[in-house]
């Protein structure tokens, strides 16, 4: 087990180097000089531009810029944004907000999705099942910004049940509405996954055996059916956490959440290499860790899957 974890962690190193290199290259390849854009519609004095380019190492060739950036990372220095703030500070400020938002969304979609999906699967072909399938199809086909604008207008502006935008310090009660919006599409996916998985498991021999042994539904459903149906759902959740981190961009913009999505978008627009790369790198790391955790979770759900050796 420990050997398996160590191997997985070591695998993260080439992934880390590869992604930073690729992202850095992509930001470098963005057309246009970000320093000139700092001056808006006004044409800057070339000497001032040269000074600033030197300050941000933008006068160096790509590989030198990348090495300077990587050298900094090993000293815990992620570079400085155009606004003069250390990127580490920006990371420390924005990631907790987005992770909080993603976790709330993940909790909502997991609990609601598995419950609804399980009930639908156990009542296959009934009215509840049909309604669930129809609703989830609608949710999947709606773009997230449509759901977000409608939710903001109805619950924020019209009914006043929630704040229209997230307030100071991004408290949890303000994050619930954006989290529901963010969770809505994955919720529909989880419902469908759980439903089909439950239907499949219910017809397997061991479930019939359990019934014939005289076990009650209250034991069979959670332990025999649900536990064995969860593997595809958990796999989906792991990838979805990464999607939530990145996909929050639109939702964060609409609800004005001071999180990763917003900041990353601004940094890309401004062509701030170090900020973009640092953000994406941290996302990659989180993604790797979550996937590792999920792989370990498989063993708990199904003891046949083991990581010994």
């Amino acid at each position: 087990m420990a050997g398996y974890i160590l191997r997985r962690l070591l695998q993260a190193i080439p992934v880390f180097i590869g992604t930073t290199f690729l992202i850095y290259f992509m930001v470098f390849a963005l057309p246009g000089d970000p320093i000139i854009a700092l001056f808006g519609d006004k044409t800057p004095n070339p000497a001032v531009v040269a000074q600033l380019r030197e300050q941000y190492h933008l006068d160096q060739p790509f590989i030198v810029q990348y090495l300077i950036y990587m050298g900094g990372i090993f000293r815990g220095d992620f570079g400085i944004s155009f606004s003069g703030q250390p990127v580490t500070e920006i990371l420390a400020r924005t990631f907790p907000v987005t992770i909080r938002l993603a976790i709330i969304a993940l909790l909502i979609e997991t609990i609601a999705g598995i419950l609804v999906g399980m009930v639908a699967g156990l009542r296959k072909g009934k009215l509840f099942d049909g309604t669930t399938l129809a609703v989830s199809l609608i949710l999947i086909s709606l773009p997230v910004f449509v759901i977000a604008f409608v939710a903001q207008f109805v619950f924020g502006v019209q009914l006043g049940w929630a704040r229209t935008t997230v307030g100071d310090g991004a408290p949890i009660q303000d994050l619930i509405l954006p989290a529901i919006v963010l969770a809505s599409i994955s919720f529909a996916q989880i419902v469908r996954l759980t439903r089909s998985s439950v239907i499949e498991t219910s017809s397997l021999d061991f479930v019939r055996t359990a019934y014939s042994k005289g076990l009650g539904r209250r034991r069979i459903i959670p332990v025999h059916i649900l536990r064995n149906s969860l593997i595809p759902v958990v796999t989906y959740l792991a990838t979805d956490f990464g999607v939530l981190l990145v996909g929050a961009t639109v939702t964060e913009g609409i609800f004005n959440v001071p999180g990763v999505g917003n900041t990353l978008y601004q940094a890309i627009i401004r062509g701030e290499g170090p900020t973009v790369v640092s953000f994406v790198t941290v996302m990659v790391l989180i993604y790797l860790l979550v996937n590792l955790a999920v792989d370990l979770l498989y063993g708990l759900l199904d003891p046949r899957i083991r990581y010994v050796k």
């Binding site: 963005l30 057309p31 246009g32 000089d33 970000p34 000139i36 854009a37 700092l38 001056f39 808006g40 519609d41 006004k42 044409t43 800057p44 004095n45 070339p46 000497a47 001032v48 000074q51 600033l52 300050q55 155009f82 606004s83 003069g84 703030q85 920006i90 400020r93 924005t94 604008f149 903001q152 207008f153 924020g156 502006v157 006043g160 704040r163 229209t164 935008t165 307030g167 100071d168 310090g169 964060e252 913009g253 609409i254 609800f255 004005n256 001071p258 917003n262 900041t263 978008y265 601004q266 627009i269 401004r270 062509g271």
Partner: protein
């Protein structure tokens, strides 16, 4: 006198609101006077740079620095300069200015505002190696250099409260420029650790930071009224919270749910509905923003007499009235000159301004005349950045040209603003391109000198006309502002003939405010005069 009038009007409005139960701010007891401790909240955006006045050139940071610093002058609602820290600014030749500072003015850390506060701040801002985004503001002061570190020798301290400024050439509008952010004074602590100061600036303006760390990045900044400020912008409220919004849509949603008091940007998506939503709390008025597209002289067919004819034809082929009405829902005002109607000296009857009137037949005739000189070939394209919401009007203008001139015309989108600006700066762009100018200070010269004077800093089309240059210098050396404005209007008559840029429209400031605030007025620079706003 006028100030008192405004104050009384505010009182009347405020009490009327309370009596009719319209006050949404939760004022429980009827009161006859506005609440001077109320905090006004408004929209803003995360400053792009540390809050150093000489390095703040965009609206997000400018909105903050303008409120926490007080310069020698400030601009009133009409854009006229009023003395703020200055007791007097005097000149006899428009080249050397003697500036006296009011005694007993101080920064919020207790340090006195002296001649050195200005001289040191300007020296810092102008020095090349400090790479300040606003350094070009000091270019007319003696000693300034774009190429090497060079102190401003034109700044001389006379005594603690007096200094003189010597310019390299007469500029009668120099005192008018002094209200711009770049010319703010700095306390001595600022220059010992600029980075730390930029994070927690100490100013001398109507507001100050509520506490150390009041700037919560990406979230908001909290300002409170500065009790020591004695100038004309004394706050009529207790403070100002500027919330940073990633999009105008979010700010507008907050206004509708009363989570923010005043906003100065209506999102495009609400252009059709905001006047019905807000009623008389909706604001839509011209601002000091001039929009155009520039046709560089180096493009084939666009120089000499042929070029003049083609430029005039293009201008007359554009139906500005319909485009501003249909595409912008009336939030742009068709251009009548090269400046802005909010600027003193603006005129809609300058010689030659007929080329801005939609006249398809005449346009076609002019184009045919140009074809007689040298036949047209190719496509006429207008470059723009696709991330800025320009596609709608560029397509409309291209359609106008196609239909009225019978030529192939289209937009040439680039994905990012940086890409377009780089191509323009490098002169690699081979098409016409979108240009916009937001004035730095409310003077006609600011719309003309930097854009069209020979070799001027933002002369993106490399336009050059000695007659135009001569009229600009003549205007700059006039001591009477009416005479100067006349020269600038004559200079524009030349522009109307040459059309280095095709004027399109003035951007309006669009905004709105909630039911709990009153006395909301927008300044010449599209920003509300926050210090006048009352609540409760």
């Amino acid at each position: 006198m006028k100030r008192y009038g405004v104050g009384f009007a505010a009182l009347a409005v405020a009490s009327a609101l309370v009596l009719t139960g319209c006050s949404g701010g939760g004022a429980s007891t009827p009161t006859t006077s506005a609440n001077t401790t109320a905090i006004i909240s408004t929209n803003g955006s995360e400053p792009q740079n540390p809050l150093i006045p000489t390095n703040t050139n965009e609206t997000g940071g400018g909105k903050i620095t303008d409120n926490i610093f007080a310069g020698l002058v400030y601009y009133d609602e009409k854009g006229a300069p009023q003395n703020d820290m200055a007791e007097s600014i005097e000149t006899t030749d428009s080249t050397t200015f003697t500036i006296k500072i009011k005694p007993d003015e101080k920064f919020t850390n207790g340090e006195a505002v002296t001649a050195d506060s200005f001289i040191n701040a300007w020296q810092y801002g102008a020095l090349l190696s400090n790479a300040q985004l606003n350094s070009y503001f000091f270019e007319d002061i003696e000693g300034f250099s774009y190429d090497a570190d060079s102190p401003l020798t034109g700044l001389k301290k006379v005594d603690d409260l007096t200094f003189t400024v010597t310019l390299t050439a007469p500029h009668s509008d120099f005192p008018l420029r002094l209200g711009y952010t770049a010319f703010m004074p700095l306390p001595s602590v600022a220059l010992t650790d600029v980075a730390a100061f930029g994070e927690n600036p100490i100013g001398n303006g109507p507001y100050k930071l509520a506490a150390t760390g009041a700037w919560q990045h990406n979230v908001k900044i909290d300002l409170v009224a500065n009790p020591d400020y004695t100038g004309g912008r004394k706050a009529q409220n207790g403070g100002l919270t500027i919330k940073f919004y990633a999009s105008a849509d979010a700010a507008y949603a907050d206004l509708q749910s009363n989570a923010v008091d005043v906003i100065d940007e209506i999102p495009d998506s609400a252009y059709q509905t905001y006047t019905t939503d807000l009623g008389d709390r909706a604001v839509n008025q011209p601002a000091a923003i001039f929009q155009s597209f520039t046709i560089p002289e180096r493009l084939a067919h666009f120089s000499g007499e042929e070029g003049q004819l083609r430029r005039q034809a293009i201008s007359e082929a554009i139906d500005r009235d319909t485009i501003t009405k249909v595409i912008f829902e009336g939030t742009r005002t068709p251009a009548a000159d090269f400046t802005s109607p909010v600027i003193d000296g603006w005129s809609d009857s300058i010689d030659g301004s007929d080329v801005l009137k939609y006249n398809a037949d005449d346009a076609k005739a002019l184009w045919a005349k140009a074809d007689a000189i040298s036949p047209w070939s190719g496509t006429f394209q207008i470059a723009y950045n696709a991330d800025g919401g320009h596609q709608g009007w560029v397509d409309a203008v291209a359609n106008n040209l196609k239909n009225n001139l019978g030529i192939d015309a289209s937009g040439a989108p680039s994905p990012t603003f940086a890409q377009v600006r780089t191509a323009i700066t490098d002169r690699t762009i081979q098409t016409a391109f979108r240009t916009g100018w937001q004035a730095d200070y409310p003077g006609l010269f600011n719309f003309l000198g930097p854009l069209y004077a020979t070799n001027a800093g933002s002369n993106d089309g490399d336009y050059s006309n000695p007659d135009f240059d001569a009229l600009l210098s003549k205007g700059s050396s006039e001591t009477d502002s009416a005479a100067a404005n006349k020269d600038y209007q004559d200079a524009q008559a030349i522009l109307f003939k040459d059309l280095p840029a095709i004027p399109l429209w003035y951007s309006n400031v669009t905004g709105g405010y909630g039911t709990s605030v009153s006395n909301v007025h927008f300044g010449w620079n599209s920003v509300p005069l926050y210090y006048e706003i009352t609540k409760g």
